[in-house]
Amino acid sequence: MHGNPTMAARTPLLKVDNLVVEYPLGTRTIHAVSDVSLAIARGETLGLVGESGCGKSTLGRAVLQLRRATSGRVQFDGEELTALQGDALRRIRHRMQLIFQDPIASLNPRRRIGDIIAEPLVIAGVRDANKRQELVWEVLSAVGLDPALVVGRLPHEFSGGQCQRICIARALVLNPEFIICDEPVSALDVSIRAQILNLLEEMKQRFGLTLLFIAHDLAVVKAVSDRVAVMYLGRLCEVGPSAQLFEKPAHPYTALLIEAIPVPDPEVRPTEGVAVGEPPSPMAPPSGCRFRTRCPRADARCASEVPELRPIATGQYVACHHPLIAG
């Protein structure tokens, strides 16, 4: 049976099947996402990691139907999202939220924080102003901000870390089930990053959330994810449980990413010359396996045949003709 190879044992909350997102740029097409399938179980955090241009942000937006996919299906709790329009789509949006990379740009510079956080409630139809205020104050306290000091102010009076807390509060106020975090800590300082990551973990536990955590920093992704999916130029390279994936990566690209991370230990001399070449353009992706232009293990088969995701170890799937571990 045509099964999604990355489906978890329980019925998944989110199921993406053969998603393709392409859009024209002038006379050429950008192949942002090419045939990606994945599933996220309820209560799980799936990390999606990849470098710029790999399509991970586009995938996140396409899942939430903020960007229409060219083809493929997205099922949320059994409902087919690509078939929904207008009001039906707007109603289901209350159950899925998004947190962005730039916390300050995510807030309307002309509106007060109290209004910004109350906005989802207004859209959802909560008419009672007192009830709205109560919920807003509750969620602001939950993210570690003092509501009395915050609600009447404008976004530019806050730092990046505080703005991100406000964005998280806004995402939580409707009690959603699923949140996509699109590089939520990349724009923040190191010491603030840790605060926000801890906050996200705590909120996940407290509100019973399911997360799709998109980032380019492997260590950050590993810290918060149960499973990790590695993406390169619009395709998934490898999917597997976090600890296992980083300990024994099967795909050469995953290994490359791990090697390239600067380790804060002077004893570990960075191995020179491991990373070669540049990612090709998403307008002209290589045939067959898209990583072959940078892969030391590439051969003729890699150029002619697109590798499919297949199981290589318990819960670990890889799309490679010459994986690093034997399957």
Binding site: E51, S52, S159, G161, Q162, D189, V190, S191, I192, R193, A194, Q195, L197, N198, E201, H216, D217, L218, A219, V220, K222, A223, V224, S225, D226, S242, A243, F246, L256, L257, I258, E259, A260, I261, P262, V263, P264, D265, P266, E267, V268, R269, P270, E272, G273, V274, A275, V276, E278, P279
Partner: protein, 331 residues
Amino acid sequence: MSGPALLSIEDVVVELPTPRGNLRAVDHVDLSMAAGQALGIVGESGCGKTMLSRAILQLLPKKARLSGRVMFDGQDLVRLNPEALRKLRARGIAVVFQDPMTSLNPVLTIGTQLVETLQEHLGLDAVAARRRSAELLAAVGIPAPEQRLDQYPHQLSGGMRQRVVIAIALCCEPKLLIADEPTTALDVTIQAQILDLLAREQRRRHMAMILITHDLGVVAGRTDEVAVMYAGRVVERAPTRNLFKHMQMPYTAALLAAIPKLDAAPHTPLAAIPGRPPDPTRPLKGCSFAPRCRHVGEQCLREKPALTPADNQGHCYACFHPLEFAAGVSA
């Protein structure tokens, strides 16, 4: 520190008037480095590291006030006349900034930008300059350099552009290269390549290099000495190995602990530092890190700690309650 100092920053203070009050970006900083040495300056945003690099280059905003001395190769840059300073900029000190897109002129070809610099500072004629430009591009790892000379910056990827910026910086054989967050805007695999390139060129040319970054991992394997800055001051300075093995300043230790480690298990709570860096327009009376420090004491709130030596190998720190900390052991 081996040999006489190539660069010596003495008691530099940089202040900026702002509508909210006087901003002290750099607060009495002393640093020195010898020729051929690689110094890393680590700190978060607002710690003053960028202002310090601007102070060295004498590229501060007009409203800024600078006091102290910046001795480079025997000359005080603060008191140098503009003409001599301009000559010094390419041949003595070169810079690589964070965003390669804004460092390059978008309406000029790569070749024009390189040739211009070569003609101006080395006096080469057009043909020789073009040949040398192609050689430089090849040296920084750009494939098909001859064709790249006629391309515009927007036609290159981020990593390529940063290589071009490095090529321009190196073209006049500077004695000191300042790299201000050179890889922050780049992907991690490209970052590794660019850092390798910088390290390689630095060794080959026996050039001094200051690597400014917020990432302790970047400086760990690529520098000889590291200085950690917080709220405008140097709070710890040591040869790299010593810094990581014997951290004294709680901020440095906390910074290291806050980085998610690749070998930690998923869902391990991160050791976050509570609170935020102080408002630079409202400096605190005592130690700037006191409100966030776990080891804070009475004295920390009253006085600012001065840099005191930890040993005789050049390790110093500014703290009243130093740790005896080895990297890898949780606090």
